[in-house]
């Protein structure tokens, strides 16, 4: 198999180009590359559009060449500054990787756009004119821009994939509300995901690993989710909703046990949120009818998995933003587990916030 070395190179220096001539400038770029005598292959599997606020431009400049190593795309980095006077500026280049053992570069076109002032309102049409029509388009929406931005709603109608970076798992559960709303509005027209859900894959994997040894969930009665801080966190809410969805537990109401909110489900099942964390820190406890107990707790770089008094460690794979996004861009189908978890979270959230 062809193997790529793990560093990106750029084909041409960054020079500002006329926005109206971006396609011609890209053609010129390839002509120059071909005439240079070096073997260069232009590769594009899909369009990738990365939106962020101007102040966070460095994030996009870092991540796009990294993503190009795994996903050959026509990438468009769009930075917005709505407070500035209206303007549009553009640059073109190509992110390349060398094939191991071959004097050959695989290159992905990269366009950078700065869009200011009310020109941001027209950005959608400019992006559409620059995406390759025969290929799918994925949008990454950086957390520096609000999910309620009208541009995102416009894009969600016309692209195949939207990846948002809503909140960190330790943010309060209430901060998930805008994202759940965006998901509900957009999930019919495109595949929507969020890096918070991707971040939680370690927790989900650890819970699954725990139950590999005790797959009989019949006697399971209560789940307790411990999180840090004094409020139920976004991560805790999503993990709880995912567990309920996996177990097919349906909410019947929300109550308070002491100060702790409890989602009461059918057949006397319940999910309790314990925001203060407690001595054992973040984790999930499982209580069974037969007095058995099991738990997944965070223990430094590991998860500790306990069942029937025996504890073992499983390595926690904390993934950086590059790994998370690379993985997300491999998946173009709807994640039914996320869909189910969000359906539950959407029902729970108003009552949890009230409680």
């Amino acid at each position: 198999m062809e193997k790529a070395v793990s560093y990106p190179e750029q084909l041409a220096p960054r020079e500002q180009v006329d926005v109206a001539r971006i396609e011609q400038e890209l053609e010129e770029l390839w002509r120059e590359a071909e005439s240079s005598g070096e073997s260069v292959t232009r590769a594009t599997a899909f369009n990738l559009v990365y939106f962020c606020a101007r102040a966070h431009e460095a994030d996009g400049q870092f991540i796009i060449p990294e993503l190009a190593l795994a996903h050959p795309t026509r990438s468009i980095l769009v930075t917005l500054d709505e407070a500035a006077p209206p303007a549009e500026r553009a640059w073109v280049t190509a992110n390349c990787r060398r094939l191991e053992g071959e004097n050959k570069q695989i290159c992905s076109e990269a366009i950078s756009l700065e869009i200011d002032g009310d020109a941001t309102l027209r950005a959608s049409s400019l992006i559409h004119s620059l995406t390759l029509g025969s290929l799918s388009t994925a949008v990454i929406w950086h957390h520096s821009l609000p999910l309620s931005h009208p541009l995102l709603a416009l894009l969600a109608d016309s692209v195949e994939r939207v990846i948002t970076c809503s909140v960190h798992e330790n943010a309060p559960a209430s901060s998930l509300k805008p994202w759940i709303e965006f998901y509900q509005q957009s999930a019919e027209t495109c595949v929507v995901s969020d890096l918070l859900w991707a971040e939680l894959s370690g927790w989900r994997g650890a819970v699954a690993e725990l139950f590999d040894e005790c797959p009989d969930v019949g006697p399971l009665r209560e789940v307790r989710i411990h999180s840090t801080g004094d409020k139920t966190t976004a991560g805790a809410l999503l993990v709880g909703a995912w567990i309920a969805g996996s177990l097919k537990w349906k909410m019947e109401g929300i109550a308070l046990r002491g100060r702790r909110p409890v989602v009461e489900c059918s057949n006397d099942h319940s999910i309790m949120f314990i925001p203060e964390g407690g001595a054992s820190g973040e984790g999930v406890e499982f209580l069974f009818d037969n007095s058995n107990a099991a738990a997944v707790m965070r223990d430094g770089d590991n998860f500790s998995l306990t069942f029937q008094g025996r504890t073992r460690l499983a390595r926690a794979k904390d993934q950086d933003i590059k790994t998370l996004l690379t993985h997300e861009l491999h998946a173009w189908g709807r994640d039914n587990r996320l869909h189910s978890a969000l359906s539950a979270a959407q029902l729970w959230l108003p009552k949890l916030l009230f409680s």
């Binding site: 198999m1 062809e2 193997k3 790529a4 292959t41 590769a43 599997a45 190009a68 190593l69 795994a70 996903h71 050959p72 990787r97 094939l99 695989i106 894959s201 989900r204 994997g205 819970v207 699954a208 690993e209 139950f211 590999d212 797959p215 009989d216 969930v217 567990i243 996996s246 177990l247 097919k248 460690l313 499983a314 390595r315 794979k317 690379t326 994640d335 039914n336 587990r337």
Partner: protein, 502 residues
């Protein structure tokens, strides 16, 4: 694991059960060049349980520390990137243990029991990476020691490297010996071609696209060519190769397995047995070879030049008998007698010292029934070809006719080309990674089942018999660096066809 509701939708990411991987021949070339580097990649990606350990069984007692160092250094040499740093090297090396096979299988059993009693893995995966003559005695020894019978809640599996026998009779004997000790669902016959991404992609190409399946039959396909060409000679394997030859080494297993993936009916599901049932059915439908001289070609290479370097002929290679009649090139013409493929020949060829290393399946479609360009300069149209490149430049290309720009009607074949290397970046797993992982997970889809192995031998056995009895003339030769003997070209020419230029 199937009852775990939390696993739904995440099976692909789950680490395997903890197990002890016991490699017979663990100090050999395959283990050092392939198996350990692959295990390292799997460990780095979190696909192996932290409790999985590796026991290397060797003929001579080994110093464990120096063997561990040797494994790490070999991985650095043969698989750059498999050892990212010293910390990983240390932690991986600590999972390797050595066992000398001058101790008895009972001792091995005791060591594994001791390991389990200390909290180590209770699952056992035995890997036979030893000369084939050692297969039956080793399997027997494992059985005698009770190692084929797992403890309650644990599993015991065995991976057997090819060759599975050297003819139909010995294959049946080996299968019988294995079946006396292990159940079929415990036996994993490895054919590394089936672990290659491009071979797995054959199923996806056929089952995930509406475009191809409707034309995947005798109504539209003229013939199929399967080529596995190597530019290397016999290198250090002369002793093995003299006993094997191209037909046994490549066609009986790799190429027939690929043929089965191409030609089988659509399985009802992706379950291992559903796929393996369809593969068995299509191999059963391969017409028995009768007129061998017109359906099979063999030859060995004469001195020539490959990639600009002069190379000796096969008979001049070290370790090769001067009177050898072992073929380094073989080609077969097969027919599949079923509804889908009636009348469609499958041409298979493989050889050493061919111009380049390339493995490809070409589906050559029928000519258009009527040429409407008769009054134009277009007097001949090429046939459409769907080429599945298995290695190198892994990918798929579709050749079709297109009009050249201009006033006159000139037509030229062009290619639509998909390449893994340009469409998907990142590292692509080695076939052994996938296969070892599948064996640990318990997925037999990509492993050869007993019946398909025996069918493979059933197909080639008449050729082996004919060739072993035919001592009349010297074996045909082809110049090293050419695409094989004239007889192979003549076999297709007799049908009005020719081999693809690769």
């Amino acid at each position: 694991m199937s009852g775990n509701p939390f696993r739904e939708g995440m099976l692909a990411d789950s680490p395997t059960d903890p197990c002890a991987l016991i490699i017979f021949g663990g100090t050999g070339d395959l283990a050092r060049r392939k198996l350990f580097p692959c295990l390292m990649h799997l460990a780095r990606e979190g696909r192996l349980s932290d409790k999985t350990v590796f026991l290397c069984v060797s003929r001579r007692p080994l110093d464990e520390t120096s063997f561990r160092n040797d494994v790490i250094e070999s991985a650095r040499k043969f698989a750059p990137g498999s050892v990212p740093d010293e910390e990983f090297a240390k932690s991986f090396a600590a999972r390797i243990f050595t066992v000398s096979d001058d101790t008895s299988f009972a001792n091995l059993s005791k060591q594994l029991a001791d390991l389990a009693s200390l909290g180590g893995p209770r699952n056992h995966l035995f890997y036979l990476s030893i000369p084939p003559t050692g297969y039956a005695p080793t399997i027997h020894g494992l059985g005698q020691a009770g190692l084929a019978n797992p403890q309650t809640g644990a599993w015991s599996r065995i991976i057997i490297e090819k060759p599975f026998g050297r003819d139909l009779k010995s294959a049946r004997e080996l299968n019988r010996a294995a079946a006396e000790v292990f159940q079929e669902e415990q036996i994993y016959r490895i054919d590394h071609y089936l672990g290659k991404e491009t071979v797995q992609n054959i199923l996806v190409l056929r089952l995930a696209n509406t475009l191809f399946e409707p034309v995947w039959n005798h109504h539209y396909v003229d013939h199929v060519q399967i080529t596995a060409a190597e530019s290397l000679g016999v290198e250090e394997r002369a002793q093995y190769y003299e006993e094997s030859g191209a037909l046994r080494d490549m066609i009986q297993n790799h190429l027939l397995q690929i043929l089965a993936m191409i030609a089988m009916e659509r399985p009802a599901s992706l379950a291992a047995e559903a796929i393996r049932d369809e593969k068995r059915k299509v191999l059963e439908a391969v017409r028995p070879l009768e007129d061998i001289s017109s359906l099979a070609v063999r030859a060995h290479y004469a001195a020539g030049a490959v990639t600009g370097k002069a190379v000796p002929g096969y008979l001049e290679e070290n370790g090769v008998s001067k009177n050898s009649r072992t073929e380094t090139f073989s080609a077969l013409k097969l027919h599949i007698d079923n509804w889908r493929w009636t009348g469609v020949p499958f041409y298979l060829r493989t050889g050493k010292r061919l111009p380049k290393r390339v493995t490809e399946v070409a589906i050559v479609f029928r000519k258009v029934p009527h040429t409407v360009f008769a009054q134009s300069p277009v007097d001949k149209l090429d046939q459409n070809v769907l080429a599945i490149r298995i290695q190198p430049n892994e990918g798929i290309s579709l050749k079709f006719e297109a009009k050249l720009p201009g006033h006159a009607l000139h037509v030229r074949p062009v290619d639509m080309d998909f390449r893994y290397g340009t469409s998907f970046g990142g590292r692509i797993s080695d076939a052994y990674e996938r296969l070892m992982l599948d064996a640990m997970i318990g997925d037999q889809t990509l492993f050869a089942r007993r019946d398909s192995v025996e069918e493979g031998w059933r197909i080639v056995q008449p050729v082996l018999n004919y060739w072993s009895s035919d001592k009349s003339e010297p074996l045909p030769q082809y110049v090293a660096g050419s695409w094989g003997p004239a007889e192979a070209d003549a076999m297709l020419a007799a049908d009005g066809r020719r081999w693809r230029k690769l």
